[in-house]
Protein backbone atom coordinates (compact mmCIF):
# COMPACT_ATOMS: atom_id res chain seq x y z
CA UNK A 1 0.00 0.00 0.00
CA UNK A 2 2.76 2.40 1.06
CA UNK A 3 4.88 1.41 -1.97
CA UNK A 4 1.94 2.22 -4.27
CA UNK A 5 1.52 5.61 -2.56
CA UNK A 6 5.24 6.46 -3.00
CA UNK A 7 4.99 5.44 -6.67
CA UNK A 8 1.98 7.67 -7.20
CA UNK A 9 3.78 10.56 -5.52
CA UNK A 10 6.84 10.17 -7.76
CA UNK A 11 4.58 9.98 -10.80
CA UNK A 12 2.82 13.19 -9.77
CA UNK A 13 6.17 14.96 -9.27
CA UNK A 14 7.37 13.89 -12.71
CA UNK A 15 4.14 15.14 -14.32
CA UNK A 16 4.46 18.44 -12.46
CA UNK A 17 8.06 18.92 -13.63
CA UNK A 18 7.07 18.02 -17.20
CA UNK A 19 4.14 20.46 -17.12
CA UNK A 20 6.34 23.32 -15.88
CA UNK A 21 9.06 22.50 -18.43
CA UNK A 22 6.46 22.43 -21.22
CA UNK A 23 5.13 25.80 -20.06
CA UNK A 24 8.61 27.36 -20.20
CA UNK A 25 9.34 25.77 -23.60
CA UNK A 26 6.05 27.08 -25.01
CA UNK A 27 6.84 30.53 -23.60
CA UNK A 28 10.33 30.43 -25.16
CA UNK A 29 8.90 29.24 -28.49
CA UNK A 30 6.22 31.95 -28.64
CA UNK A 31 8.66 34.73 -27.73
CA UNK A 32 11.25 33.52 -30.24
CA UNK A 33 9.29 32.49 -33.33
CA UNK A 34 6.09 34.56 -33.28
CA UNK A 35 5.20 38.27 -33.44
CA UNK A 36 4.93 38.24 -29.64
CA UNK A 37 8.74 38.54 -29.51
CA UNK A 38 8.32 42.27 -30.29
CA UNK A 39 6.46 42.94 -27.06
CA UNK A 40 6.96 40.02 -24.68
CA UNK A 41 10.29 39.05 -23.13
CA UNK A 42 11.32 35.41 -23.18
CA UNK A 43 11.90 33.23 -20.11
CA UNK A 44 15.70 33.55 -20.29
CA UNK A 45 15.54 37.35 -20.15
CA UNK A 46 13.11 37.23 -17.24
CA UNK A 47 15.14 34.62 -15.35
CA UNK A 48 18.31 36.68 -15.87
CA UNK A 49 16.61 39.75 -14.43
CA UNK A 50 15.22 37.66 -11.59
CA UNK A 51 18.67 36.32 -10.69
CA UNK A 52 20.22 39.80 -10.98
CA UNK A 53 17.58 41.25 -8.70
CA UNK A 54 18.82 39.03 -5.88
CA UNK A 55 22.02 41.10 -5.85
CA UNK A 56 21.07 44.42 -7.46
CA UNK A 57 18.23 46.42 -5.97
CA UNK A 58 14.96 47.07 -7.77
CA UNK A 59 14.17 50.47 -6.37
CA UNK A 60 15.38 50.57 -2.78
CA UNK A 61 15.65 46.84 -2.10
CA UNK A 62 16.82 43.60 -3.61
CA UNK A 63 14.24 40.85 -4.07
CA UNK A 64 14.81 39.72 -0.47
CA UNK A 65 13.63 43.09 0.81
CA UNK A 66 10.59 43.14 -1.46
CA UNK A 67 9.73 39.58 -0.46
CA UNK A 68 10.07 40.44 3.20
CA UNK A 69 7.59 43.30 2.96
CA UNK A 70 5.05 41.39 0.86
CA UNK A 71 5.22 38.25 3.02
CA UNK A 72 4.84 40.38 6.14
CA UNK A 73 1.79 42.14 4.72
CA UNK A 74 0.23 38.88 3.55
CA UNK A 75 0.83 37.03 6.81
CA UNK A 76 -0.52 39.79 9.01
CA UNK A 77 -3.61 40.44 6.87
CA UNK A 78 -4.17 36.73 6.33
CA UNK A 79 -3.75 35.73 9.99
CA UNK A 80 -6.27 38.31 11.18
CA UNK A 81 -8.66 37.30 8.36
CA UNK A 82 -8.30 33.61 9.28
CA UNK A 83 -8.97 34.10 12.98
CA UNK A 84 -11.94 36.41 12.43
CA UNK A 85 -13.18 34.40 9.45
CA UNK A 86 -13.31 31.16 11.47
CA UNK A 87 -15.12 32.89 14.33
CA UNK A 88 -17.66 34.59 12.06
CA UNK A 89 -18.12 31.51 9.83
CA UNK A 90 -18.65 29.10 12.71
CA UNK A 91 -20.98 31.57 14.41
CA UNK A 92 -23.08 31.77 11.26
CA UNK A 93 -23.02 27.99 10.85
CA UNK A 94 -24.05 27.21 14.42
CA UNK A 95 -26.36 30.03 15.42
CA UNK A 96 -29.44 30.88 13.40
CA UNK A 97 -29.48 34.36 14.92
CA UNK A 98 -25.89 35.00 13.85
CA UNK A 99 -26.73 33.61 10.43
CA UNK A 100 -29.82 35.81 10.11
CA UNK A 101 -27.92 38.95 11.12
CA UNK A 102 -24.48 38.48 9.52
CA UNK A 103 -25.23 36.53 6.35
CA UNK A 104 -27.14 39.23 4.42
CA UNK A 105 -24.39 41.80 5.09
CA UNK A 106 -21.69 39.24 4.31
CA UNK A 107 -23.36 38.22 1.04
CA UNK A 108 -23.63 41.88 0.04
CA UNK A 109 -19.99 42.67 0.79
CA UNK A 110 -18.59 39.38 -0.56
CA UNK A 111 -18.56 40.18 -4.32
CA UNK A 112 -16.80 43.54 -3.90
CA UNK A 113 -13.19 43.17 -5.10
CA UNK A 114 -10.43 44.33 -2.70
CA UNK A 115 -9.27 47.00 -5.18
CA UNK A 116 -12.65 48.78 -4.88
CA UNK A 117 -12.04 49.32 -1.16
CA UNK A 118 -8.84 51.33 -1.71
CA UNK A 119 -10.34 54.86 -1.49
CA UNK A 120 -12.30 53.98 1.66
CA UNK A 121 -9.37 52.17 3.23
CA UNK A 122 -7.19 55.26 2.66
CA UNK A 123 -9.84 57.42 4.32
CA UNK A 124 -10.08 55.09 7.30
CA UNK A 125 -6.47 53.99 7.78
CA UNK A 126 -4.30 56.50 5.90
CA UNK A 127 -1.45 55.46 3.63
CA UNK A 128 0.90 53.53 5.95
CA UNK A 129 1.03 49.77 6.50
CA UNK A 130 -2.41 49.41 8.08
CA UNK A 131 -4.40 49.98 4.85
CA UNK A 132 -2.25 47.35 3.12
CA UNK A 133 -3.06 44.80 5.82
CA UNK A 134 -6.71 45.83 5.53
CA UNK A 135 -6.84 45.19 1.78
CA UNK A 136 -5.23 41.76 2.22
CA UNK A 137 -7.64 41.07 5.08
CA UNK A 138 -10.57 41.92 2.81
CA UNK A 139 -9.11 39.71 0.08
CA UNK A 140 -8.84 36.63 2.27
CA UNK A 141 -11.60 37.01 4.89
CA UNK A 142 -14.43 35.92 2.59
CA UNK A 143 -13.01 32.52 1.72
CA UNK A 144 -12.24 31.51 5.29
CA UNK A 145 -15.63 32.71 6.54
CA UNK A 146 -17.57 31.02 3.80
CA UNK A 147 -15.80 27.69 4.24
CA UNK A 148 -16.07 27.75 8.03
CA UNK A 149 -19.78 28.49 7.62
CA UNK A 150 -20.28 25.67 5.12
CA UNK A 151 -18.20 23.30 7.27
CA UNK A 152 -20.31 24.01 10.35
CA UNK A 153 -23.52 23.62 8.35
CA UNK A 154 -22.51 20.28 6.89
CA UNK A 155 -21.94 18.59 10.24
CA UNK A 156 -23.98 15.41 10.32
CA UNK A 157 -27.10 16.35 12.34
CA UNK A 158 -27.32 12.76 13.59
CA UNK A 159 -23.99 13.21 15.37
CA UNK A 160 -25.14 16.43 17.00
CA UNK A 161 -28.49 14.85 17.88
CA UNK A 162 -26.80 11.79 19.43
CA UNK A 163 -24.46 13.98 21.44
CA UNK A 164 -27.40 16.02 22.74
CA UNK A 165 -29.38 12.86 23.55
CA UNK A 166 -26.44 11.56 25.58
CA UNK A 167 -26.41 14.79 27.58
CA UNK A 168 -23.30 16.40 26.10
CA UNK A 169 -23.04 20.09 26.87
CA UNK A 170 -23.39 22.65 24.04
CA UNK A 171 -19.77 23.68 24.61
CA UNK A 172 -18.57 20.09 24.16
CA UNK A 173 -20.79 19.60 21.11
CA UNK A 174 -19.11 22.62 19.54
CA UNK A 175 -15.56 21.62 20.55
CA UNK A 176 -15.80 17.87 19.99
CA UNK A 177 -18.30 17.50 17.15
CA UNK A 178 -18.77 20.68 15.14
CA UNK A 179 -15.21 22.05 15.20
CA UNK A 180 -13.44 18.78 14.24
CA UNK A 181 -16.02 18.07 11.51
CA UNK A 182 -15.56 21.56 10.08
CA UNK A 183 -11.76 21.43 10.04
CA UNK A 184 -11.30 20.05 6.50
CA UNK A 185 -13.60 22.77 5.11
CA UNK A 186 -11.85 25.45 7.17
CA UNK A 187 -8.47 24.35 5.84
CA UNK A 188 -9.80 24.35 2.28
CA UNK A 189 -10.93 27.92 2.86
CA UNK A 190 -7.57 28.85 4.34
CA UNK A 191 -5.84 27.42 1.27
CA UNK A 192 -7.95 29.48 -1.12
CA UNK A 193 -7.64 32.52 1.14
CA UNK A 194 -3.86 32.30 1.05
CA UNK A 195 -3.97 32.49 -2.75
CA UNK A 196 -6.40 35.39 -2.73
CA UNK A 197 -4.26 37.16 -0.11
CA UNK A 198 -1.37 37.03 -2.58
CA UNK A 199 -3.65 38.31 -5.31
CA UNK A 200 -4.64 41.20 -3.06
CA UNK A 201 -0.97 42.14 -2.57
CA UNK A 202 -1.02 44.01 -5.87
CA UNK A 203 -4.01 46.10 -4.79
CA UNK A 204 -2.54 46.58 -1.31
CA UNK A 205 0.75 47.85 -2.68
CA UNK A 206 -1.05 50.43 -4.81
CA UNK A 207 -1.44 52.37 -1.56
CA UNK A 208 1.68 54.42 -1.09
CA UNK A 209 4.10 51.47 -1.23
CA UNK A 210 7.75 51.83 -2.20
CA UNK A 211 8.52 48.16 -1.89
CA UNK A 212 6.98 44.69 -2.27
CA UNK A 213 6.31 42.16 -5.03
CA UNK A 214 3.10 43.92 -6.07
CA UNK A 215 5.00 47.21 -6.21
CA UNK A 216 7.53 45.58 -8.58
CA UNK A 217 4.67 44.73 -10.97
CA UNK A 218 3.13 48.20 -10.68
CA UNK A 219 6.45 49.96 -11.28
CA UNK A 220 7.17 47.70 -14.24
CA UNK A 221 3.73 48.52 -15.63
CA UNK A 222 4.11 52.27 -15.03
CA UNK A 223 7.47 52.37 -16.76
CA UNK A 224 6.67 49.90 -19.58
CA UNK A 225 9.32 47.54 -18.20
CA UNK A 226 7.62 44.23 -19.08
CA UNK A 227 10.49 42.00 -17.87
CA UNK A 228 10.10 43.64 -14.46
CA UNK A 229 6.36 42.93 -14.51
CA UNK A 230 7.09 39.28 -15.27
CA UNK A 231 9.73 39.09 -12.54
CA UNK A 232 7.12 40.30 -10.04
CA UNK A 233 4.63 37.77 -11.37
CA UNK A 234 7.13 34.91 -11.15
CA UNK A 235 8.06 35.83 -7.57
CA UNK A 236 4.42 35.99 -6.47
CA UNK A 237 3.72 32.69 -8.25
CA UNK A 238 6.66 30.85 -6.68
CA UNK A 239 6.09 32.21 -3.17
CA UNK A 240 2.36 31.53 -3.45
CA UNK A 241 3.12 27.94 -4.46
CA UNK A 242 5.60 27.57 -1.58
CA UNK A 243 3.13 28.88 1.01
CA UNK A 244 0.31 26.73 -0.41
CA UNK A 245 2.56 23.67 -0.07
CA UNK A 246 3.30 24.55 3.55
CA UNK A 247 -0.41 24.98 4.15
CA UNK A 248 -1.15 21.55 2.63
CA UNK A 249 1.50 19.99 4.87
CA UNK A 250 -0.03 21.70 7.91
CA UNK A 251 -3.46 20.44 6.87
CA UNK A 252 -2.13 16.89 6.56
CA UNK A 253 -0.72 17.11 10.09
CA UNK A 254 -3.70 18.79 11.75
CA UNK A 255 -6.37 16.80 9.93
CA UNK A 256 -4.47 13.49 9.69
CA UNK A 257 -7.67 11.62 10.62
CA UNK A 258 -9.34 12.96 7.49
CA UNK A 259 -6.79 11.56 5.00
CA UNK A 260 -7.99 8.79 2.72
CA UNK A 261 -4.56 7.12 2.52
CA UNK A 262 -4.03 6.73 6.31
Amino acid sequence: MKKKFVGEKAEKTIYAILAIATFFLAWAFITTFTAAKETTPGPIEVLKLLVTSFFQPIGRYTVYGHLYYSIRRVLIGYTVATVLGIIVGLSMGTSRYAEAIIKPIFEMIRPIPPIAWIPLVILWFGVGELPKYAIIFIGSFTNVTLNAYTGAQRVDPTLVGCARMLGTSERDIFLRVILPSSMPQIFAGMQVALSTAWMAVLAAEMIGAQEGCGWIILRGSDTTNIPLVLVGMVIIGVVGLFLATIMRMAERKVCAWNRMDV
Binding site: E38, Y61, I122, L123, G208, T223, T224, K253
Partner: protein
Protein backbone atom coordinates in the same frame (compact mmCIF):
# COMPACT_ATOMS: atom_id res chain seq x y z
CA UNK B 1 -16.39 0.89 24.05
CA UNK B 2 -14.37 2.53 26.79
CA UNK B 3 -11.08 2.19 24.88
CA UNK B 4 -12.78 3.57 21.72
CA UNK B 5 -13.87 6.64 23.64
CA UNK B 6 -10.34 7.10 24.98
CA UNK B 7 -8.92 6.93 21.46
CA UNK B 8 -11.48 9.48 20.25
CA UNK B 9 -10.68 11.81 23.16
CA UNK B 10 -6.99 11.42 22.39
CA UNK B 11 -7.54 12.28 18.73
CA UNK B 12 -9.49 15.40 19.60
CA UNK B 13 -6.81 16.37 22.13
CA UNK B 14 -3.99 15.95 19.59
CA UNK B 15 -5.94 17.72 16.87
CA UNK B 16 -6.55 20.72 19.11
CA UNK B 17 -2.90 20.67 20.18
CA UNK B 18 -1.78 20.64 16.53
CA UNK B 19 -4.16 23.42 15.57
CA UNK B 20 -2.94 25.57 18.45
CA UNK B 21 0.69 24.76 17.47
CA UNK B 22 0.02 25.79 13.86
CA UNK B 23 -1.63 29.04 14.92
CA UNK B 24 1.20 29.76 17.39
CA UNK B 25 3.80 29.12 14.67
CA UNK B 26 1.98 31.49 12.29
CA UNK B 27 1.74 34.11 15.02
CA UNK B 28 5.46 33.75 15.81
CA UNK B 29 6.48 34.10 12.15
CA UNK B 30 4.16 37.10 11.74
CA UNK B 31 5.51 38.76 14.88
CA UNK B 32 9.10 38.09 13.83
CA UNK B 33 8.42 39.55 10.38
CA UNK B 34 6.72 42.57 11.88
CA UNK B 35 9.73 43.26 14.04
CA UNK B 36 12.68 43.22 11.66
CA UNK B 37 12.82 45.12 8.39
CA UNK B 38 15.63 45.12 5.83
CA UNK B 39 17.50 48.38 5.29
CA UNK B 40 16.94 50.20 2.00
CA UNK B 41 19.81 50.69 -0.42
CA UNK B 42 21.07 54.28 -0.46
CA UNK B 43 21.39 55.18 -4.13
CA UNK B 44 21.68 58.97 -4.17
CA UNK B 45 25.03 59.98 -5.58
CA UNK B 46 24.27 63.46 -6.83
CA UNK B 47 25.48 66.24 -4.55
CA UNK B 48 27.10 69.59 -5.17
CA UNK B 49 30.86 69.40 -4.52
CA UNK B 50 30.89 72.25 -2.00
CA UNK B 51 28.37 70.55 0.31
CA UNK B 52 30.21 67.32 1.00
CA UNK B 53 28.55 65.42 3.83
CA UNK B 54 30.57 64.05 6.77
CA UNK B 55 31.80 60.48 6.31
CA UNK B 56 29.46 57.71 7.40
CA UNK B 57 29.71 57.01 11.10
CA UNK B 58 31.43 60.32 11.78
CA UNK B 59 29.54 62.17 14.46
CA UNK B 60 30.55 65.67 15.41
CA UNK B 61 29.56 67.72 18.43
CA UNK B 62 27.89 70.20 16.09
CA UNK B 63 26.05 67.33 14.46
CA UNK B 64 24.76 66.13 17.82
CA UNK B 65 23.56 69.62 18.68
CA UNK B 66 21.92 69.92 15.28
CA UNK B 67 20.21 66.55 15.78
CA UNK B 68 18.87 67.68 19.14
CA UNK B 69 17.72 70.97 17.60
CA UNK B 70 15.94 69.33 14.65
CA UNK B 71 13.81 67.30 17.04
CA UNK B 72 12.01 70.53 17.99
CA UNK B 73 11.40 71.66 14.41
CA UNK B 74 7.88 71.57 12.99
CA UNK B 75 7.32 68.57 10.72
CA UNK B 76 5.63 69.01 7.37
CA UNK B 77 4.07 65.96 5.66
CA UNK B 78 5.25 66.33 2.07
CA UNK B 79 3.81 64.18 -0.73
CA UNK B 80 6.39 62.82 -3.18
CA UNK B 81 5.96 60.94 -6.45
CA UNK B 82 8.47 59.02 -8.61
CA UNK B 83 8.65 61.93 -11.06
CA UNK B 84 10.70 65.00 -11.88
CA UNK B 85 8.48 67.34 -9.87
CA UNK B 86 9.62 65.73 -6.61
CA UNK B 87 13.31 66.39 -7.31
CA UNK B 88 13.40 69.76 -5.50
CA UNK B 89 11.97 68.01 -2.42
CA UNK B 90 14.66 65.31 -2.62
CA UNK B 91 17.28 68.04 -3.02
CA UNK B 92 15.90 69.96 -0.02
CA UNK B 93 16.22 66.86 2.13
CA UNK B 94 19.65 65.86 0.83
CA UNK B 95 21.07 69.33 1.37
CA UNK B 96 19.29 69.99 4.64
CA UNK B 97 17.44 73.01 3.25
CA UNK B 98 14.41 72.04 5.31
CA UNK B 99 16.32 72.16 8.59
CA UNK B 100 18.16 75.33 7.50
CA UNK B 101 14.77 76.96 6.95
CA UNK B 102 13.34 75.83 10.26
CA UNK B 103 11.20 72.79 9.49
CA UNK B 104 11.54 69.06 8.81
CA UNK B 105 10.21 67.17 5.80
CA UNK B 106 8.35 63.91 6.39
CA UNK B 107 7.97 62.44 2.90
CA UNK B 108 4.80 60.51 2.09
CA UNK B 109 5.07 58.43 -1.09
CA UNK B 110 2.42 58.28 -3.83
CA UNK B 111 2.48 56.60 -7.24
CA UNK B 112 0.55 59.37 -9.02
CA UNK B 113 -1.58 62.48 -8.66
CA UNK B 114 -4.84 60.53 -8.41
CA UNK B 115 -3.53 58.64 -5.37
CA UNK B 116 -2.38 61.95 -3.88
CA UNK B 117 -5.89 63.37 -4.18
CA UNK B 118 -7.43 60.28 -2.56
CA UNK B 119 -5.04 60.72 0.36
CA UNK B 120 -5.70 64.47 0.51
CA UNK B 121 -9.30 63.65 1.41
CA UNK B 122 -7.93 61.60 4.30
CA UNK B 123 -5.61 64.44 5.37
CA UNK B 124 -2.51 62.29 4.78
CA UNK B 125 -0.26 65.06 3.41
CA UNK B 126 0.04 68.79 3.85
CA UNK B 127 2.00 69.96 0.86
CA UNK B 128 2.92 68.42 -2.46
CA UNK B 129 3.60 69.12 -6.12
CA UNK B 130 0.95 68.42 -8.74
CA UNK B 131 0.19 69.19 -12.36
CA UNK B 132 -3.21 68.40 -13.94
CA UNK B 133 -4.46 66.53 -10.86
CA UNK B 134 -4.32 69.85 -8.98
CA UNK B 135 -7.72 70.66 -10.51
CA UNK B 136 -9.44 68.10 -8.26
CA UNK B 137 -7.30 69.11 -5.28
CA UNK B 138 -8.56 72.69 -5.57
CA UNK B 139 -12.09 72.24 -6.87
CA UNK B 140 -13.14 69.21 -4.84
CA UNK B 141 -10.83 68.92 -1.83
CA UNK B 142 -10.44 72.64 -1.08
CA UNK B 143 -6.64 72.64 -1.30
CA UNK B 144 -4.71 75.73 -2.38
CA UNK B 145 -2.29 76.38 -5.22
CA UNK B 146 0.43 78.63 -3.78
CA UNK B 147 3.18 78.63 -6.44
CA UNK B 148 4.06 77.35 -9.91
CA UNK B 149 7.39 75.56 -9.77
CA UNK B 150 8.08 73.72 -13.04
CA UNK B 151 7.31 73.83 -16.75
CA UNK B 152 5.36 70.61 -17.15
CA UNK B 153 4.40 71.08 -20.80
CA UNK B 154 7.78 69.69 -21.92
CA UNK B 155 7.72 66.07 -23.03
CA UNK B 156 3.94 66.01 -23.52
CA UNK B 157 3.97 64.57 -27.00
CA UNK B 158 1.74 62.93 -29.54
CA UNK B 159 3.74 60.34 -31.46
CA UNK B 160 3.28 58.19 -34.52
CA UNK B 161 5.36 55.62 -36.37
CA UNK B 162 7.77 56.95 -39.00
CA UNK B 163 5.86 55.32 -41.84
CA UNK B 164 2.51 56.71 -40.71
CA UNK B 165 0.83 59.08 -43.25
CA UNK B 166 0.53 61.61 -40.40
CA UNK B 167 4.32 61.74 -40.05
CA UNK B 168 4.72 62.50 -43.78
CA UNK B 169 3.03 65.95 -43.58
CA UNK B 170 4.65 68.81 -41.68
CA UNK B 171 3.74 72.49 -41.39
CA UNK B 172 0.21 72.18 -42.78
CA UNK B 173 -0.71 75.01 -40.43
CA UNK B 174 1.90 77.74 -41.07
CA UNK B 175 1.36 79.26 -37.60
CA UNK B 176 2.64 76.01 -36.07
CA UNK B 177 5.39 74.88 -38.42
CA UNK B 178 6.74 72.13 -36.12
CA UNK B 179 3.61 70.03 -35.91
CA UNK B 180 2.84 67.11 -38.21
CA UNK B 181 -0.32 65.90 -39.91
CA UNK B 182 -3.24 67.63 -41.61
CA UNK B 183 -7.01 67.29 -41.72
CA UNK B 184 -6.85 64.55 -44.34
CA UNK B 185 -4.32 62.29 -42.63
CA UNK B 186 -5.82 62.77 -39.17
CA UNK B 187 -9.45 62.08 -40.02
CA UNK B 188 -10.41 58.66 -38.68
CA UNK B 189 -7.07 58.14 -36.94
CA UNK B 190 -7.03 55.96 -33.81
CA UNK B 191 -5.43 57.98 -31.00
CA UNK B 192 -4.56 56.21 -27.75
CA UNK B 193 -4.20 58.30 -24.61
CA UNK B 194 -5.13 58.58 -20.98
CA UNK B 195 -8.30 60.62 -21.36
CA UNK B 196 -8.89 63.51 -19.01
CA UNK B 197 -5.19 64.19 -18.63
CA UNK B 198 -3.08 66.95 -20.14
CA UNK B 199 -2.13 64.53 -22.91
CA UNK B 200 -5.80 64.43 -23.91
CA UNK B 201 -5.76 68.25 -23.96
CA UNK B 202 -2.66 68.02 -26.15
CA UNK B 203 -4.62 65.93 -28.68
CA UNK B 204 -7.57 68.34 -28.67
CA UNK B 205 -5.31 71.38 -29.19
CA UNK B 206 -3.46 69.55 -31.98
CA UNK B 207 -6.69 68.66 -33.79
CA UNK B 208 -7.92 72.25 -33.41
CA UNK B 209 -4.99 73.51 -35.48
CA UNK B 210 -6.41 71.62 -38.48
CA UNK B 211 -10.04 72.52 -37.84
CA UNK B 212 -10.83 69.08 -36.41
CA UNK B 213 -12.51 67.93 -33.22
CA UNK B 214 -12.46 64.68 -31.28
CA UNK B 215 -15.50 63.63 -33.33
CA UNK B 216 -13.23 63.35 -36.39
CA UNK B 217 -10.90 60.81 -34.82
CA UNK B 218 -11.26 57.77 -32.58
CA UNK B 219 -9.84 58.40 -29.13
CA UNK B 220 -9.16 55.21 -27.19
CA UNK B 221 -8.66 55.50 -23.44
CA UNK B 222 -5.80 53.62 -21.83
CA UNK B 223 -2.99 54.37 -19.41
CA UNK B 224 0.27 55.70 -20.83
CA UNK B 225 2.31 52.46 -20.79
CA UNK B 226 -0.54 50.66 -22.57
CA UNK B 227 -0.84 53.49 -25.11
CA UNK B 228 2.89 53.19 -25.74
CA UNK B 229 2.52 49.43 -26.28
CA UNK B 230 -0.44 50.03 -28.62
CA UNK B 231 1.68 52.43 -30.68
CA UNK B 232 4.65 50.07 -30.83
CA UNK B 233 2.48 47.13 -31.90
CA UNK B 234 0.57 49.16 -34.51
CA UNK B 235 -2.75 48.98 -32.68
CA UNK B 236 -3.20 52.73 -32.89
CA UNK B 237 -2.06 55.47 -35.28
CA UNK B 238 -1.05 57.98 -32.64
CA UNK B 239 -0.27 57.79 -28.93
CA UNK B 240 -0.41 60.90 -26.75
CA UNK B 241 2.06 60.25 -23.97
CA UNK B 242 3.64 61.98 -21.00
CA UNK B 243 7.23 61.70 -19.68
CA UNK B 244 9.09 59.46 -19.21
CA UNK B 245 7.08 57.16 -21.56
CA UNK B 246 7.08 59.87 -24.25
CA UNK B 247 10.89 60.05 -24.13
CA UNK B 248 11.13 56.26 -24.35
CA UNK B 249 8.89 56.26 -27.45
CA UNK B 250 10.89 59.08 -29.03
CA UNK B 251 14.06 57.10 -28.30
CA UNK B 252 12.51 54.10 -30.08
CA UNK B 253 12.29 56.17 -33.27
CA UNK B 254 8.69 57.37 -33.05
CA UNK B 255 7.98 60.79 -34.61
CA UNK B 256 6.86 63.58 -32.26
CA UNK B 257 3.86 64.84 -34.24
CA UNK B 258 2.91 67.57 -31.76
CA UNK B 259 3.75 68.78 -28.29
CA UNK B 260 2.30 71.29 -25.88
CA UNK B 261 5.49 73.31 -26.36
CA UNK B 262 5.02 73.40 -30.16
CA UNK B 263 1.33 74.22 -29.66
CA UNK B 264 2.30 77.05 -27.30
CA UNK B 265 0.17 75.80 -24.41
CA UNK B 266 2.04 76.49 -21.16
CA UNK B 267 1.55 74.12 -18.24
CA UNK B 268 3.03 74.23 -14.78
CA UNK B 269 3.60 71.91 -11.88
CA UNK B 270 2.36 73.72 -8.80
CA UNK B 271 2.86 73.59 -5.06
CA UNK B 272 -0.45 72.41 -3.62
CA UNK B 273 -1.28 72.81 0.04
CA UNK B 274 -4.05 71.06 1.95
CA UNK B 275 -6.84 73.29 3.21
CA UNK B 276 -5.92 72.50 6.82
CA UNK B 277 -2.23 73.32 6.36
CA UNK B 278 -3.10 76.52 4.48
CA UNK B 279 -5.30 77.64 7.36
CA UNK B 280 -3.12 76.52 10.27
CA UNK B 281 0.53 76.46 9.12
CA UNK B 282 1.22 79.50 6.98
CA UNK B 283 4.54 80.27 8.68
CA UNK B 284 5.92 76.82 7.95
CA UNK B 285 4.60 77.03 4.39
CA UNK B 286 6.43 80.32 3.81
CA UNK B 287 9.66 78.61 4.92
CA UNK B 288 8.87 75.57 2.78
CA UNK B 289 8.32 77.77 -0.30
CA UNK B 290 11.56 79.63 0.41
CA UNK B 291 13.47 76.34 0.65
CA UNK B 292 11.72 75.01 -2.47
CA UNK B 293 12.92 77.93 -4.60
CA UNK B 294 16.42 77.65 -3.12
CA UNK B 295 16.30 74.09 -4.46
CA UNK B 296 14.97 75.01 -7.92
CA UNK B 297 17.60 77.79 -8.22
CA UNK B 298 20.36 75.28 -7.38
CA UNK B 299 18.96 72.63 -9.73
CA UNK B 300 18.65 75.08 -12.63
CA UNK B 301 22.17 76.34 -12.00
CA UNK B 302 23.65 72.85 -12.25
CA UNK B 303 21.74 70.76 -14.82
CA UNK B 304 24.22 67.87 -14.65
CA UNK B 305 23.71 67.54 -10.91
CA UNK B 306 19.94 67.81 -11.42
CA UNK B 307 20.03 65.07 -14.08
CA UNK B 308 22.07 62.77 -11.81
CA UNK B 309 19.66 63.41 -8.94
CA UNK B 310 16.74 62.58 -11.24
CA UNK B 311 18.43 59.38 -12.39
CA UNK B 312 19.04 58.39 -8.77
CA UNK B 313 15.43 59.18 -7.92
CA UNK B 314 14.15 57.05 -10.80
CA UNK B 315 16.48 54.20 -9.84
CA UNK B 316 15.42 54.42 -6.21
CA UNK B 317 11.81 54.11 -7.36
CA UNK B 318 12.34 51.15 -9.64
CA UNK B 319 12.38 52.98 -13.00
CA UNK B 320 15.03 52.22 -15.59
CA UNK B 321 16.50 55.34 -17.14
CA UNK B 322 19.77 56.72 -18.50
CA UNK B 323 21.62 59.92 -17.70
CA UNK B 324 21.06 61.23 -21.24
CA UNK B 325 17.28 60.80 -20.93
CA UNK B 326 17.38 62.56 -17.59
CA UNK B 327 19.38 65.44 -19.09
CA UNK B 328 16.77 65.75 -21.83
CA UNK B 329 13.98 65.81 -19.28
CA UNK B 330 15.75 68.45 -17.18
CA UNK B 331 16.26 70.59 -20.31
CA UNK B 332 12.75 70.23 -21.72
CA UNK B 333 10.94 70.60 -18.39
CA UNK B 334 12.93 73.27 -16.52
CA UNK B 335 12.12 74.27 -12.98
CA UNK B 336 10.86 77.77 -12.29
CA UNK B 337 13.57 79.80 -10.57
CA UNK B 338 12.86 82.36 -7.87
CA UNK B 339 13.38 85.20 -10.39
CA UNK B 340 11.05 83.66 -13.00
CA UNK B 341 8.39 83.01 -10.35
CA UNK B 342 8.04 86.77 -9.85
CA UNK B 343 6.92 87.10 -13.49
CA UNK B 344 4.37 84.26 -13.51
CA UNK B 345 0.64 84.64 -12.96
CA UNK B 346 0.16 81.75 -10.56
CA UNK B 347 -2.54 79.20 -11.20
CA UNK B 348 -3.35 80.12 -14.81
CA UNK B 349 -2.49 76.65 -16.08
CA UNK B 350 -4.69 74.99 -13.42
CA UNK B 351 -7.54 77.17 -14.67
CA UNK B 352 -6.89 76.12 -18.29
CA UNK B 353 -6.88 72.47 -17.25
CA UNK B 354 -10.04 73.00 -15.19
CA UNK B 355 -11.84 74.48 -18.20
CA UNK B 356 -10.78 71.49 -20.27
CA UNK B 357 -12.04 69.08 -17.61
CA UNK B 358 -15.41 70.84 -17.52
CA UNK B 359 -15.61 70.54 -21.32
CA UNK B 360 -14.94 66.82 -21.02
CA UNK B 361 -17.47 66.48 -18.19
CA UNK B 362 -14.72 65.35 -15.86
CA UNK B 363 -15.49 68.21 -13.48
CA UNK B 364 -18.88 69.54 -12.46
CA UNK B 365 -19.25 73.02 -13.93
CA UNK B 366 -20.54 74.27 -10.57
CA UNK B 367 -17.19 73.34 -9.03
CA UNK B 368 -15.12 75.28 -11.56
CA UNK B 369 -15.22 78.65 -9.69
CA UNK B 370 -13.66 76.90 -6.68
CA UNK B 371 -10.37 76.73 -8.59
CA UNK B 372 -9.97 80.52 -8.74
CA UNK B 373 -10.97 80.79 -5.07
CA UNK B 374 -8.16 78.41 -4.13
CA UNK B 375 -5.27 80.13 -5.86
CA UNK B 376 -3.25 82.23 -3.47
CA UNK B 377 0.02 84.04 -4.10
CA UNK B 378 0.52 85.62 -0.67
CA UNK B 379 2.76 82.79 0.60
CA UNK B 380 5.12 82.83 -2.38
CA UNK B 381 5.26 86.63 -2.29
CA UNK B 382 6.22 86.57 1.37
CA UNK B 383 8.75 83.79 0.80
CA UNK B 384 10.46 85.47 -2.14
CA UNK B 385 9.89 89.07 -1.03
CA UNK B 386 8.01 90.62 -3.94
Amino acid sequence: MRSGETVKKGRVYFMKKKLISALMATAMVTTALAGCAPKPVESTTAAPAETAAPAAGETTAAGQTAAADTADLPVLKVAVMPFLNSIPIVYMQNEGLDVANGFKIEPVYFANGGAMNEALAADQWEVGTLSAAAVNSLAIYGAYCIADIGHSEGGLYTLSKQDSPIAQVKGANPSYPDIYGDAETLKGAIIATNTGTISHLNVIKWLEKFGLTTEDVEIVHMDFPSAYQALMTGNCDVAALNPPTSYVAEGEGMVVTSSLTALEVPQFDSIIVSNKAFTDRKDVLVNYTKAFFQATDALQADPDMAAQLLLDWYTENGSESAIESCKTEITTRPFVTSDEEKTISIGDSVQVTGEFWVSQELLDEAKFPEIAKHIDDTIVKEALGF
